[in-house]
């Protein structure tokens, strides 16, 4: 691997890379974003565009903090815990990145479909409604307590589908219908001015 061509007047020699790493670099240059990743990105941009268009989008109140008066009466131990939480969140870091992973298992009946209910962790948002982007294998049937896709249907490519919902915070669980045994990965992303939450479900289905 040669050194970069621009502004190269440095005399210090570059350590040559092992052939294997050179091969790795060339191989990595051929990697393109998967279609599902592009689909999620487009959905995220659409959500950001809609948020930007909303006049009150940036005026959503930040997460409620405890009243200072409360601090005078709570036990010392609770004070310490609150301090830890506030420092961890950081006052200059209003949008929290949260990643949650959950392994799920489901056994199918001898014939037919089985359903699994999974909860969306929307308690991280203060907003009344949350935009949800869900990326799941095409073979799964995904419904959200009777809510239809905001886009009028999922956007499918390469055997995966991207669904977009707008859900109320107390909305019912996400319902997944499965017909066949297998190993499925489901990505759910929901965002607000409070937090970006990425839930990843790994579902193992047997019969």
């Amino acid at each position: 691997m040669s050194r970069p061509s621009e502004d190269t007047r440095d005399d210090s020699p570059l350590e040559p890379l092992p052939e294997t790493l050179d091969v790795g670099i060339r191989a990595l240059r051929r990697v393109n974003p998967p279609t599902a990743t592009l689909g999620r990105m487009e959905a995220a941009l659409a959500a950001a565009d809609e948020n930007r268009a909303r006049p009150d989008a940036r005026n959503v109140p930040t997460r409620r903090r405890p009243f200072p008066a409360l601090l005078a009466v709570v036990p010392t131990l609770t004070l310490a815990a609150l301090a830890v939480l506030l420092v961890a969140r950081g006052s200059d870091d209003p949008i929290e990145e949260i990643r949650l992973t959950e392994d799920l298992a489901l056994t199918l009946p001898a014939e037919g479909r089985a359903f699994l209910d999974v909860a969306l962790r929307t308690e991280h948002h203060d907003d009344a409604t949350t935009k949800v982007t869900l990326d799941a294998p095409e073979r799964l049937q995904v419904t959200m307590a009777g809510i239809s896709d905001a886009t009028g249907g999922p956007n499918c490519a390469d055997a995966r589908c991207v669904h977009r919902f707008e859900v109320d915070r107390d909305e019912g669980p996400l319902r997944i219908g499965v017909d066949e045994p297998g190993h499925y990965v489901i990505h759910v992303r929901h965002e607000s001015s409070e937090a970006n939450v990425h839930q990843r479900f790994t579902l193992r289905v047997t019969r």
């Binding site: 691997m1 050194r3 970069p4 061509s5 621009e6 502004d7 190269t8 440095d10 210090s12 020699p13 570059l14 350590e15 040559p16 890379l17 092992p18 052939e19 294997t20 790493l21 091969v23 790795g24 670099i25 191989a27 990595l28 240059r29 990697v31 393109n32 974003p33 998967p34 990743t37 592009l38 999620r40 990105m41 487009e42 995220a44 941009l45 659409a46 950001a48 565009d49 930007r52 815990a81 830890v84 939480l85 420092v87 961890a88 950081g90 870091d93 929290e96 990145e97 949260i98 990643r99 949650l100 992973t101 962790r121 990965v185 990505h187 992303r189 970006n196 990425h198 990843r200």
Partner: protein, 200 residues
């Protein structure tokens, strides 16, 4: 005087303008995070931020480099947030987890089967080696070797002087070699990679 290229604010036009740069941005995200799952998040976050701040792109620099710079800042910020949470809350979470079960902090995403499937074995090894480099060295290797940026362009992305990029690049190369040798010494390289090295 030639007119500077500016990014459109309208979403479809923005997407069309940045689309040629997306493979480079995605590779940068994979190489920096070492995981397809995290790269996916970083890619999305960087794109959303770029979209919301498209007016900040003055057209003076390379568009892909500008996007990579945003991704790098997002990556550092995510790591700082994660570090704060892990450092300060882990003890509390661990105690609570004993009572309530594993909490949000339990999530982890190292290189896994999904990442390997996307990258293939050859790139997977490179990404594993990169993941063992300190972030400041990893970023330089990714920009200068993977993306083949000149030192001037890499300095612009990283916001550091060109001379620092040059010296850091030399040290990063040496560290990368050392990491590779250490992996080879512990016999954790893939069989294909080892036999290739022995043959050279």
């Amino acid at each position: 005087m030639p007119e500077l290229f500016t990014l459109p604010r309208e979403r479809n036009a923005f997407e069309a303008a940045v689309r040629p740069c997306l493979p480079r941005l995605y590779r940068f995200c994979v190489a920096m995070t070492g995981s397809a799952d995290r790269a996916d998040d970083l890619f999305q976050n960087a794109m959303v931020k770029a979209f919301l701040h498209s007016a900040d792109f003055g057209g003076k620099s390379d568009l892909a480099g500008w996007l990579c710079g945003i991704a790098r800042n997002e990556h550092l910020e995510a790591r700082r947030t994660e570090g704060r949470r892990n450092g300060l809350l882990d003890r509390v979470s661990a105690a609570w987890a004993n009572v309530f079960g594993a909490g949000p902090g339990a999530a982890s995403a190292g290189p896994g089967p999904e990442t390997s499937a996307i990258l293939g074995e050859e790139s997977d090894l490179l990404v594993r080696c990169l993941a063992r480099l300190p972030e400041e060295f990893r970023a330089v290797v990714v920009l200068c070797d993977l993306e083949d940026l000149g030192y001037g362009a890499a300095a612009e992305v990283l916001g550091i002087p060109v001379g620092t990029v040059k010296s850091r690049h030399a040290r990063a190369r040496a560290k990368l070699r050392a990491v590779y040798d250490a992996l080879a010494a512990t016999n954790t390289l893939p069989v294909v990679a080892q036999s290739k090295e022995e043959a050279t």
